[in-house]
Symmetry: C2
Subunit: 155 residues, 2 copies
DNA sequence: ACTGAAAATGACGCGCG
DNA sequence: CGCGCGTCATTTTCAGT
């Protein structure tokens, strides 16, 4: 991972459909070695794939809710069991194991609060090993960045 | 936004480099009308762009920290001022205006805790209008989904 | 469906560490 | 001596008509 690799990754994060020729001249390489680097970055799973960026509001999912889940037990097995269950819920966009009270933080998307409530009662609360749940609603999304800060100054 | 549109968006979220021909047969259309729909979805900003998916760990940003920021004042102007300042920090991947204590929730990425601490003291705490800051660390990322749940069953 | 264009792939020679 | 870049030619594939 040298500086050119970082510039390649940064450029592909901004525009995943850039052609190899354009990318090459952006990073100051000729097409062939540039393509080689991209292939290597993909093989190393630095780049894990390519996708369209979609506006959640315009596809009818304007609401984000942060849900803190406390498990009955916090050992490795309980966490694994919960993890395997929670990945089956497509509404859960992010899931983190947190320090502190060692609970779990989810970001869930929903059409509206009614839909979320239904999701909460019928789906999430039925997962195994949950002691308590606490929900916090996002009124508005100020930032949702798609590009990681790469490079020295954070490209 | 009909069902075919949703399938197009879902397919492009999974693979943003799929060709129009492949996409067309995936959704059961011939290439030309399929391309028209994609162009429309882009024009309507349902699809806002295309990007590479990058593994945060493999580019040296394995740590996510959730930072709750309480502002001194919670009126529209104070929020706007803060928003304009916080977008200049590339480490801030997400930023939400929350209900309840009406504070702001950030997800920040960092190389390690030392780097984060530096970011906190030298950058974030210097933003205008902050009353208090509280940080919660993610030990592990269990899910980071890139595709919104579209369609009836959540494609 | 066709045509024109552009990009990805492979082979080869070169320079630098 | 080996690794990585550059140029060239070939083949495939895509978008526009």
């Amino acid at each position: 991972m040298d500086d050119i690799d970082r510039r390649i990754v940064a450029a592909l994060q901004r525009d995943g459909r850039i052609t190899n020729v354009e990318l090459a001249e952006l990073v100051g390489l000729s097409p062939t070695p540039c393509a080689r680097r991209v292939a290597r970055l993909e093989a190393e799973e630095v780049i894990t794939g390519y996708g369209a960026r979609v506006d959640p509001v315009r596809v009818g999912l304007p609401v984000s809710i942060f849900v803190s889940v406390e498990l009955e037990r916090q050992d490795r097995e309980a966490i694994t069991t919960f993890e395997r269950a929670v990945v089956t819920l497509p509404e859960v966009m992010e899931c983190y194991l947190m320090t502190g009270s060692r609970d779990i933080l989810l970001r869930v998307v929903a059409e509206d609060l009614t839909t979320f409530n239904h999701f909460l009662e019928e789906r999430l609360m039925r997962l195994p090993g949950i002691r308590s749940i606490r929900s916090n609603f996002a009124l508005r999304t100020l930032i949702r960045r798609q590009s990681l800060p790469l490079g020295p100054n954070g490209s």
